[in-house]
């Protein structure tokens, strides 16, 4: 078990290094002159030079990379050209809204998605199954930004029950997290249903019934618990993508989070911020995948006890 854990962690490290390099190269992959793009079309040559010096683009590539990596470890990610603050100062206050939103979306989407999948599997072939699957496939087909807008239209404008944006109260979380969670709920619903259908066909489920166990317990204690391993893996992967999926919800609901910061920074050519955000999102995704992998090893007795 310890070996499994170490193997997973060790394999993630080179990936993280490569990712950091790719993100570093980001600025250099931009066609044209990034310094000029930041300084503006009608900036003088001197102004462009200042920006170039600021970005450190005059140093040889290796030195730049060295500084970049050093900066990563010391927490110095450069300065934002838009507001003059450091990148870290720009990003930090936006983290809480995004994380809160992600967690609230994650909670409802996982619970509802799994419940939907279980119900569909148990009532396989009957109306509840079809209804459940229609809901699920709609969830993955609907454009999340449109869903958000229609939710605003319905609940904020027409019914006036919930705020249209911002994050002032707990009610502000409802619509955005619904928007963010729809896709995940759908994916989890479909996946839960297919794993459950497989598990319920296994021999040990038949044994459980032969013992005289109540059907609800047969489904939950035997079939579902065994499907849980796979479900958690998929859920974990989805959640990893949630953080960056916040881009759409934050844009629609005007929430000052990381997603919207990314979009704004791209529009303002605030490349240092963009770099930092890309790195953050990618690293977070990799780390969550790693956690899910390890969790899988812990829960699955076949791996744990070998």
């Amino acid at each position: 078990m310890g070996k499994y854990f170490c193997k997973r962690v060790v394999s993630a490290i080179p990936l993280l290094l490569v990712i950091s390099f790719v993100v570093f190269m980001f600025i250099h992959m931009i066609p044209g002159d990034p310094a000029r793009m930041i300084a503006g079309q009608d900036a003088t040559k001197e102004d462009v030079e200042v920006v170039r010096e600021q970005l450190g683009l005059n140093d040889p590539l290796l030195v730049q990379y060295g500084n970049y990596m050093k900066g990563l470890f010391t927490g110095d990610l450069g300065d934002s050209v838009k507001n003059g603050k450091t990148v870290v100062e720009t990003i930090a206050p936006r983290m809480k809204p995004t994380i809160m939103l992600t967690i609230s979306a994650m909670i409802w989407a996982t619970i509802i998605g799994i419940a939907l999948g279980i119900i569909s599997a148990v009532f396989h072939g009957r109306s509840l199954d079809y209804i459940g699957m229609i809901i699920a496939i709609s969830g993955i087909s609907v454009p999340s930004f449109w869903l958000g807008l229609e939710l605003i239209q319905g609940f904020s404008v027409a019914l006036n029950w919930l705020p249209t944006g911002g994050l002032d109260s707990w009610q502000s979380y409802i619509l955005p997290s619904l928007t963010m969670g729809a896709g995940i709920m759908a994916v989890l619903g479909r996946f839960t249903r297919s794993t459950m259908l497989e598990t319920m066909r296994e021999d040990y489920v038949r044994t459980a019934r032969a013992k005289g166990l109540k059907e609800t317990l047969v489904v939950m204690r035997h079939a579902f618990k065994n499907s849980l391993i796979e479900i958690i893996t998929v859920a974990g992967l989805q959640i990893g993508g949630l953080l960056s999926g916040s881009v759409m919800a934050e844009t629609v609901f005007s929430i000052p989070g990381l997603g919207r910061l990314l979009v704004d920074s791209i529009n303002f050519r605030d490349y240092k911020v963009v770099q930092a955000l890309l790195l953050f999102f990618a690293a977070e995704y990799i780390v969550i995948n790693l956690i899910v992998d390890v969790l899988y090893g812990v829960i699955n007795p076949k791996i744990r006890y070998n």
């Binding site: 490569v18 496939i137 993955i140 454009p143 239209q153 960056s244 999926g245 881009v247 844009t251 529009n267």
Partner: protein, 300 residues
């Protein structure tokens, strides 16, 4: 012990009769497919939308860029079944003409991404070793970014515009295809390898494309269909964020982005583009599901 031994003989004859008849396979497939009504309806809808994309400019009631300053921001009516926008342009006509933009962008992007992924997957699976590792590591890097993020990153580098959106969507389509094709190639390769070793003089590339590739088609078809749906969503998301088409273009995502400004006063400007995107993606997903069920031997 009480099994009959001549079962084996019978099966040998049965197998000989089933030797590939490509036409009957296609017929069988069509018959099974026709049984799934949702898949058939989805296919019809998709064909209709594609038809629209082709002939729309000639059949729509209004020109897509024909302003009518007497009928600004009007809701659905007899004259304008889906209402008008802030320039008095007919929403329905714009959407139908816009299907050209949105669909072609998604289709081309998926085709390019699939082609790239297929080539990479075939090469990686067939040659194995260093080439395989290299390609798979690159895919891992691409996989390290969630879908939308990767597309946004690509657009951040190469700039906005429909063509760039196409490239971005193609880029994040590549790794998933590469992986699928690679594993299909590996399993096909393992079964054919003995034959290949015997039939000397057959160039590797020929084996690759003539023998290995057809075996992977099944896994590809379903994924391809569902990826088109993903591509439409991604492209319209990028357009909505302002990274895609110009807002004056009748691209579905761009229209939604514009309509957002008038959500209170003219909700139809958001409703109809959104419904259209939703239904189209839904159709592709249902079609993909139907194809998967039809092709799955366990279900029949």
């Amino acid at each position: 012990m009480a099994q009959t031994n001549t079962n084996l003989d019978q099966n040998k004859f049965a197998a000989a009769e089933e030797l590939p008849k490509a036409q009957s396979k296609v017929k069988e497939f069509t018959k099974k497919f026709m049984k799934r009504k949702t898949a058939v309806v989805s296919l019809i809808f998709i064909l209709f939308i594609i038809l629209m994309a082709i002939i729309a400019p000639f059949v729509v009631p209004y020109a897509p860029d024909q302003p009518d300053y007497t009928a600004l921001l009007q809701g659905p009516s007899a004259a304008h079944i889906w209402g008008t926008d802030e320039f008095g342009q007919d929403v329905f006509s714009r959407l139908m003409v816009g299907s050209r933009l949105s669909l072609s962008c998604a289709l081309i992007a998926t085709v390019i991404g699939t082609a790239g992924g297929v080539v990479l997957g075939l090469i990686a699976g067939f040659y194995g070793g260093f080439v395989d590792s290299l390609i798979m590591r690159c895919c891992d890097v691409l996989f390290a970014f969630p879908d939308i993020l990767l597309a946004i990153a690509v657009v951040a580098i190469i700039g906005p515009g429909m063509v760039n959106v196409m490239i971005a969507v193609a880029v994040f389509t590549v790794p998933s295809f590469a992986r699928i094709i690679r594993s299909a190639t590996i399993s096909v390769k393992q079964s054919l390898y003995v034959e290949v070793a015997r039939s000397l003089g057959c160039k590797n590339s020929r084996i690759l494309f003539v023998h290995v590739f057809p075996g992977t088609i099944q896994s590809m078809i379903v994924n391809f269909t569902m990826r088109i749906g993903t591509a439409i969503l991604a492209a319209s998301s990028l357009s909505f964020l302002g990274f895609g088409a110009n807002v004056t273009e009748p691209d579905w995502g761009a229209m939604l982005s514009l309509g957002r400004n008038y959500l209170n006063t003219a909700p139809h400007m958001v409703l109809f583009p959104g419904i259209l995107i939703f239904l189209t993606v839904l159709a592709f997903n249902l079609l993909g599901d139907g194809l998967r069920d039809t092709l799955d031997p366990k279900m029949n």
